[in-house]
Amino acid sequence: MDTFEPQIVAFCCKYCAYAAADLAGSMRLAYPPNVKIVQLPCTGRIDIFHLLKAIEDGADGVYVAGCLEGECHFLKGNFRARKKVEYVKKTLAELGIEPERVEMFNLSSAMGSRFAEIAQEMTGRIKELGPSPVPTETVI
């Protein structure tokens, strides 16, 4: 278990979390390489299906990172994303899978260090939970 390196997919809004990841890079902040980033035009684009598909295809953890509440470029995208994340948490619980494997975060583009912190927090959380009970077929 000590050698377990989780595969984590992070769906990041280009206006905040993705820019914050850029900033984290510019600031030379290290964050776990377990996190694979998918850029979204807004977290409102995320669908329940995308989150479930990531789990189905072997992701040990998935998170959505959007703008601070009230600061969405498209006004309500991050609120909509949060509801979808909540739906997926319920679905996972129904299937006997830890809902903590899916999470929603909010940050701004100026929060490079917070981005790294979130990546570390999620990686730590998933390492504690262990590998996903859904066997991997596809390499992410």
């Binding site: 299906f49 479930l52 789990i55 189905e56 129904e94 299937l95 899978i97 859904v134 066997p135 077929e137």
Partner: protein, 222 residues
């Protein structure tokens, strides 16, 4: 439109526990509009079932399909060439879908993934309310566009009853008393006297009391 809710994953998983190769068929009609059995919901159910079965160590093959409507034989026929290649089929249409499918393909097994609930409409995004009970004899005009059959808990034609308090129904603080709304609307329109006319006993033979119903339009039959 027809409104429904998806069954729990546990119930659906139990239905298909003996099968390893299934088809999930959605419908582009009412269930797509009420976000319960359209393309997206088919994808979500397919992913959920695959996750559950992978977790059990018994992976399942799930194909996804979306029919124009499951309440018309010509669209059901789109499955002619493929329907027998699956162990079972889950229909995400209203209760009509699995029945039309079963009638068209008697050798195949069909499961309903949706609990069909009522005829209604969206009062806000993500919220649907009942507006019609399909009683077969519409009298909405007598109640200023507010149907007491579908929206009164007792389907009273001469209301309100003694359970109306503060505009709400006695069965739940969340249920509006439609008779309170009817009376208020009549008062606003100065037509409260309309309610002095006692509505006669309703003939329920046009509703479910008359047994299964059929509608035949001679000008369309061939």
């Amino acid at each position: 439109m027809i409104i429904g809710d998806r069954k729990s994953l546990a119930e659906i998983l139990d239905m298909i526990k003996d099968y390893n190769n299934i088809l999930i068929s959605g419908c582009k009609g009412c269930v797509t509009v009420c976000n319960v059995g359209g393309l997206k919901e088919v994808q979500i159910l397919a992913a959920s079932l695959k996750i559950a079965r992978k977790k059990e160590g018994r992976p399942i093959t799930v194909e996804e399909n979306l029919l124009e409507r499951q309440c018309d034989p010509e669209y059901i026929a789109e499955l002619n060439d493929v329907v027998d290649s699956y162990d079972a089929v889950i229909s995400m249409a209203c209760g009509v879908g699995p029945q039309f499918l079963s009638e068209a393909y008697p050798r195949q097994i069909f499961f309903p993934a949706i609990n069909t609930k009522f005829f209604g409409g969206a009062t806000a995004h993500g919220i649907w309310e009942e507006r019609c009970a399909g009683c077969g004899t519409c009298v909405i005009h007598q109640y200023d566009g507010l149907c007491p059959i579908s929206r009164c808990s007792k389907s009273l034609m001469n209301g309100p009853c003694g359970g109306s308090a503060g505009g709400m129904c006695e069965i739940s603080k969340d249920v509006i008393c439609i008779w309170d709304m009817i009376v208020k609307k009549k008062m606003e329109q100065g037509r409260l006297d309309d309610l002095l006319t006692v509505a006669p006993v309703k003939d329920w033979s046009t509703s479910r009391d008359g047994g299964p119903r059929t509608s035949i339009r001679e000008e369309l039959t061939q």
